[in-house]
């Protein structure tokens, strides 16, 4: 029976060394993949990885998504913009921010819009209104440094 204690002690020590070795190698791999997290600055584990394979650190690169409480029609284009912005240029990002600022204004505008609307239930889309704000080309707006205005139809698309 005493040999069991000896053998298990050896096993335990071996497991400890293997743990250290694998821990170092694993962290090196995480660093190589750019997924390593500094535990000094963040309390959560670098071992915790999102289901998509991204660590929370890489997830932080993504810009803020729109407030879920805001107008539903505004969310789709902003979400698309947010997804694209990981590789977008700075100019494109400024356009995204302009959209975000504008979207708040448009939410206010929807309050004063006429209540009567022609609704196509089958297509679950709204026919354009006469008082719909004009649609600008996004690239042109970026060059002129003016806010991008998008229609609800475009938003639904």
């Amino acid at each position: 029976m005493k040999s069991i204690i000896t053998v298990s002690t050896l096993l335990f020590v071996t497991a400890s060394f293997m743990g250290i070795g694998n821990y170092i190698r694993y962290n090196d791999e995480l660093r190589a993949k750019g997924l390593y997290r500094n535990t000094k600055t963040d309390n959560s584990s670098q071992n915790t990885v999102h289901a998509s394979g991204q660590s929370a650190m890489t997830a932080e690169v993504l810009p803020d998504l729109p407030d879920p409480q805001s107008d539903v029609s505004q969310q789709q284009p902003l979400s698309d913009a947010a997804a694209d912005s990981t590789t977008a240029s700075q100019a494109d990002q400024s356009a995204v921010h302009s959209r975000q600022r504008k979207s708040k204004k448009r939410t206010e505008n929807t309050v004063i819009q006429p209540a009567v609307r022609d609704i196509d239930l089958r297509g679950f889309s709204r026919a354009p209104l006469e008082d719909e704000p004009p649609v600008y080309n996004t690239d042109e707006a970026v060059q002129q440094n003016t806010p991008v205005i998008i229609s609800d139809k475009e938003a639904n698309e």
Partner: protein, 221 residues
């Protein structure tokens, strides 16, 4: 017939209700572990560690550890029954052998390996390592003392060992409790872990302290 005094009522609760609670949660833990043996990867525990599960040795350790842990928790349930100890002594001996073997050879070493990759900060990893070390040491001392026919010391060391095995159960109880209190996930995880480990150690030491006249001797025998 007079109503029982509060002290007598508390003693009754500890004698009958506490074992039932322990048995229920132990069986629940083992039952909840069973789905992992489908070897699916869609469980949240695995999804959180999806990169770790690309290391084959970690995968082996994980499945070995949860299987060994289940054996430990179920076999330990038989160890503290006075009825089994008196009437079914061979059952106590054999389930004890299984427990000791599984802890020393499988559960504690794999637990030590996995501790390096535990969720949380370095403090939580260190706690898991300490837990594995205490579990291993107390179980080894429990085996050593019973081989030397030191039954009282054997009881004390095995109680300490069992308190470490039960951290898996108490951790989930605290985690559930704090979840319903609305604590955030990581905060809940860390606090539950510390309370379960430290709380179980203190509980075991309190029992040993109150049941023995010479507490210090329990560490030297």
């Amino acid at each position: 017939m007079s109503a029982p005094t509060p002290a007598a009522f508390a003693a009754l609760l500890i004698k009958y209700l506490l074992p039932l609670i322990v048995i229920f949660f132990s069986c629940l833990l083992v039952f909840n572990t069973l789905p992992y043996f489908t070897f699916g990867r869609h469980y949240s525990f695995i999804q959180e560690r999806i990169l770790l599960f690309e290391i084959p040795f970690y995968v082996i350790c994980f499945y070995t550890h949860i299987a060994a842990g289940s054996f430990c928790i179920l076999s330990a349930l038989l160890q503290f029954s006075a009825f089994i100890l008196k009437k079914q002594r061979s059952l106590h001996i054999w389930s004890g052998r299984i427990y000791v073997m599984v802890v020393l050879v499988v559960a504690a070493p794999t637990g030590m390996f996995m501790a390096f990759f535990a969720k949380g900060s370095n403090a939580e990893r260190a706690l898991f390592m300490l837990m594995a070390l205490i579990w291993f040491y107390t179980t080894a001392r429990g085996l050593q003392t019973v081989l030397e026919k030191k039954i009282l010391a054997h009881k004390q060391w095995m109680l300490r060992s069992y308190s470490m095995a039960m951290t898996a159960v108490t951790f989930r109880i605290y985690h559930l409790l704090f979840y319903y209190l609305g604590w955030s996930h990581l905060e809940n995880y860390e606090i539950s872990l510390w309370i379960s480990v430290v709380g179980n150690i203190l509980m075991a030491e309190a029992i040993i302290y109150y049941k023995n006249n010479n507490y210090k001797q329990s560490f030297t025998t």
